[in-house]
């Protein structure tokens, strides 16, 4: 009988759900993708923003709208990777419809140190109409940095001006991406980390 009880206890311990431990923030894939499953060949943009603290994707989008005024929700869908899984983005915001700042968000696993986490790919892009209309193209590398750097910098400036703590991480995700106007753009490899608060604006 005692043996049966012990066996039952062991089985119960194995099958009874317990509160899951917080997963760590997964930064093994530092690019967005044009489709799932994620491959190297369908990488689209560098991930260059991490929201932490109360960094849910909804708060990130809401607080970005409040601080930067990026309220347009237009743009194509891209996907993000988290712990080996690939899934479409949760939201996007842009500063307009033509030449504009644009960012795509996806919420990630909660992290014991960072709290709620969302990641994003920010950039500045132009609307390409000539010689062939092809939608938006991220600004190529130039004296002010690439469109990826410009978008990250503008987002960082908007949040920092509103009192959010920001810092930078070196990820080195500097792979170049060919744009529909034939030019190339790449991140400078730095990712900004932005602390979000619980209350939206």
């Amino acid at each position: 009988m005692a043996r049966f009880v012990l066996t039952l206890a062991v089985v119960a311990a194995l099958v009874v759900p317990v509160a899951p431990a917080l997963a760590h923030f997964d930064a093994t894939d530092r690019y967005t993708h044009n489709a799932c499953p994620a491959t190297v060949s369908n990488r689209a943009d560098p991930v260059n923003v991490v929201f932490r603290g109360w960094g849910t994707w909804g708060r990130a989008a809401s607080q970005l709208e409040a601080h930067a005024g990026w309220s347009s929700t237009t743009g194509s869908i891209q996907s993000f990777v988290d712990h080996g899984g690939c899934a479409p983005m949760h939201a996007q915001r842009a500063s307009g419809l033509g030449a504009r700042f644009h960012v795509r968000f996806r919420g990630q696993h909660q992290d014991a140190a960072l709290g709620w986490v969302a990641v994003a790919g920010a950039h500045h892009e132009d609307l390409v109409l000539f010689p062939r209309p092809c939608g938006h193209a991220v600004d190529s590398n130039g004296p002010g940095g690439s469109g990826f750097d410009q978008g990250r910098n503008e987002l960082e400036r908007a949040f920092a001006s509103a009192g959010h703590a920001t810092s930078r991480l070196w990820w080195g995700n500097t792979q170049s991406f060919k744009q529909c106007d034939g030019d190339y753009a790449a991140s400078d490899g730095w990712t900004v980390v932005v602390a979000l608060h619980q209350v939206n604006h």
Binding site: A27, T28, D29, R30, Y31, N34, T39, V40, S41, N42, R43, A44, D45, G75, S76, Q78, D126, C134, G135, H136, A137, V138, D139, S140, N141, G142, P143, G144, G145, S146, D149, L169, W170, W171, G172, N173, T174, Q175, S176, F177, K178, Q179, C180, D181, D183, Y184, A185, A186, S187, D188, G189, W190, V193
Partner: protein, 182 residues
Amino acid sequence: MQHGIGRFTVGFVVLVLVGAAGGTPRGNGVSFEPASLRSRDPLLFAGDRTDGLPLTAVLRRSDSAEYVSFVYGDCVPDDDAGCAPPVEIQVWPACRRHLALYDSSSGPDLERLTVRGVPGAVLDSGTRLELQTGRSTIVVFAESRQRLSRIAAELRPLDSRTASGVPLPQPAPGAVEGRLPC
């Protein structure tokens, strides 16, 4: 949109780079190399073709990033979305990019290794290789670890037709630790 002189046609660039690699800028007075690469190490690339892919573009940055990039192969961007070329080799000055940058606990996972006698690391699930040689950091992007290895074996100075596969120059003192001045 294109800004400045970041992209050159390949034929023109090879001419300019061969000159620039020797420290003498050529071609319309354009100095192609970033200032902190100039007159230091010869630029390394993988030749006119590597792993079956032609050299299709040479890019240069000298702003918040600083490198010369050799793009191999092509891709077709979708409307509203960029695409990743199959292979890219970026040559950075080690004072701007070095392995010590990854020492932060929040940085990406990396596997340290030795390639052609010099220290390096594989990152991004085997799709990025970084090597430190002389006063430069060579960054290779490719779809697989096997392709990274083949391209690393092909690295050679821009002005050399051979020398691939031989050991690379050791990193300058302080280069791996990020203590080189720019």
